[in-house]
């Protein structure tokens, strides 16, 4: 009869510290590679549309004429694909995951501020990605 096989673990865990990360009180676990959400540096984007073409969930929309780079946070599968294909590396993966939303409003729009020959430093007009 081998009952109480679990007792060893159970009693050991009672006396030792719980494994809980205490998440909201302490910041969540992140690693250097964690995929949080995609951010763009609109000042470097050349509106090539590669990210849009390669996005498996069609979450990114680049409108060259209106100079808009738009992403739907409620569509993005944070696969890293756009970042890998971006020829100018203006996209980057932020470690912070996108926050929960109270309405179906995941759309974030960025005005692309890249000007072809030189790189003037203009301020962003779109909302900051980090909400």
């Amino acid at each position: 009869m081998a009952f109480f096989e679990m007792a060893k673990t159970a009693i050991r865990t009672v006396v030792s510290r719980p494994a809980t990360l205490m998440y909201p009180a302490r910041p969540g676990k992140k690693t250097g590679l964690s995929r949080g959400h995609v951010v763009i540096d609109p000042s470097r984007c050349i509106s090539c549309g590669m990210c849009m073409k390669k996005c498996p969930s069609e979450a990114i929309c680049v409108e060259k004429d209106e100079r808009i780079w738009r992403i739907d946070r409620l569509r993005c599968v944070v696969c890293n694909s756009c970042i890998e294909v971006c020829p100018v590396k203006c996209l980057r993966m932020d470690l912070q995951y996108s926050p929960a939303l109270l309405s179906h409003s995941g759309l974030e729009t960025f005005l692309i501020t890249y000007v072809k020959p030189e790189r003037p430093k203009k301020s962003e007009t779109g909302e900051n990605a980090d909400a």
């Binding site: 673990t9 690693t31 390669k54 498996p56 696969c79």
Partner: protein, 359 residues
């Protein structure tokens, strides 16, 4: 008594993490008849090959299933590589193997937890999942994703693991193994667990083979098929033997998985030891033309991705045959005549992954 209890079991049910439905016909609590039905998760993602380029489809293939996501990605990539005759660098092969085995650890620990939950053993569930977080941490540290890794691409892998990281991973396995053996003692030796598993859901060796059982279900019945033996990825360079048990009951299937956990740890160690330096991907040129049945060993058994291409950017057909699908006929056989309390145990003993079965 000619009258029977007829009740629906699922699709929403606390012991079923995923929706499947069973029509249960009971007499007292003995199951007289059971007819499964699926289709609650059917998305039809195979049709998406017509929409997505074959290189993009990796992301879809990975999202067939969140538990063995990496292996789906691997199998798909491997299929395309075979069609295109791409020579994947050896380091990529090794990395794929390491991640596959971590996926297996993650999947089996997850399963052990759910299995314990199905038996009504909450503590064991919690402890299995506590241990599983260790594996998820490593997966996240190396690939960036906890459950959807997204690190496989056609022609290789997308991320490399530094040699220091590999060394520390190998070192960490020791403590993990110790905790795991405490856990496996409970699954394999505790009498109350045994009383729920031994002789529950019997599947004989011949039945297992004839009905097309795969993975731990087959190996629990003594059919030693393990697709890793075909030597895909880096498995041809590593030593291992398929784990088999002969009893064919839920306990045997549990034991197979518990022993495979240790097998996976061993494979990871070997792979880390032998991993060569070098590139991690080759460039993909052109479009695939041809067909291939790409097969691999998922934690649940044999996974087949049938890919057919005609030289365009879009594949003609992708067909994903998951191990759970082949394990459904044995499940139907096993459920006959069991007790109501055994239904969740038996259903879970094939480790159903409905998400990938229905695609």
């Amino acid at each position: 008594m000619s009258r029977k209890i007829v009740i629906p079991f699922g699709p929403q049910h606390p012991v079923l993490p995923e929706p499947i439905h069973l029509d249960l016909v009971l007499e007292d609590e003995t199951v007289v008849d059971v007819i499964p039905s699926i289709g609650y998760i059917h998305r039809g993602l195979e049709t998406l090959v017509a929409k997505r380029e074959f290189t993009e489809y990796v992301y879809i293939a990975e999202r067939t299933c969140g538990i063995c996501s990496f292996i789906h990605g691997l199998t798909y990539c491997q299929g395309v590589e075979q069609i295109m005759d791409l020579e994947v660098p050896p380091r990529a092969h090794y990395l794929r193997t390491i991640w596959s085995e971590y996926s297996r650890l993650h999947s089996h620990l997850l399963w052990l937890g759910l299995f314990a939950d199905a038996m009504g053993f909450e503590n064991l569930f919690m402890n299995s999942w506590r241990l599983r977080e260790f594996v998820l941490d490593i997966l996240e540290e190396t690939t960036g994703g906890r459950v959807i890794q997204g690190s496989c691409k056609i022609g290789g892998v997308r991320k490399d693991i530094s040699n220091e990281k590999l060394a520390s991973m190998a070192a960490d396995l020791k403590g993990f193994e110790a905790e795991l053996s405490d856990l496996s003692d409970v699954f394999l030796h505790d009498d109350s667990v045994k009383s729920r598993l031994v002789d529950v859901g019997k599947l004989t060796r011949t039945d297992a083979y004839d009905l097309g059982a795969m993975g731990p279900v087959a190996r629990g019945s003594g059919v030693g098929i393990d697709l890793r033996k075909t030597g895909y990825a880096a498995y041809r360079d590593l030593r291992f033997e398929p784990v088999t048990e002969t009893a064919g009951d839920s306990y045997a299937r549990c034991a197979v998985r518990v022993r495979e956990l240790f097998g996976s740890i061993d494979l990871i160690r070997q792979a880390i030891e032998k991993i060569p330096e070098g590139d991690i991907e080759v460039k993909v040129k052109g479009n695939p033309d041809g067909e291939y049945f790409s097969r691999s060993e998922q934690p649940r058994g044999e996974l087949v991705h049938y890919l057919k291409a005609n030289g365009s950017k879009h594949l003609v057909r992708s067909r994903i045959r998951t191990p759970t699908l082949t394990n459904i006929p044995p499940l139907v056989k096993m459920l006959q005549g069991c007790e109501l309390a055994d239904v969740p145990v038996i259903v879970l003993s094939i480790d159903p992954c409905i998400g990938c079965t229905e695609r």
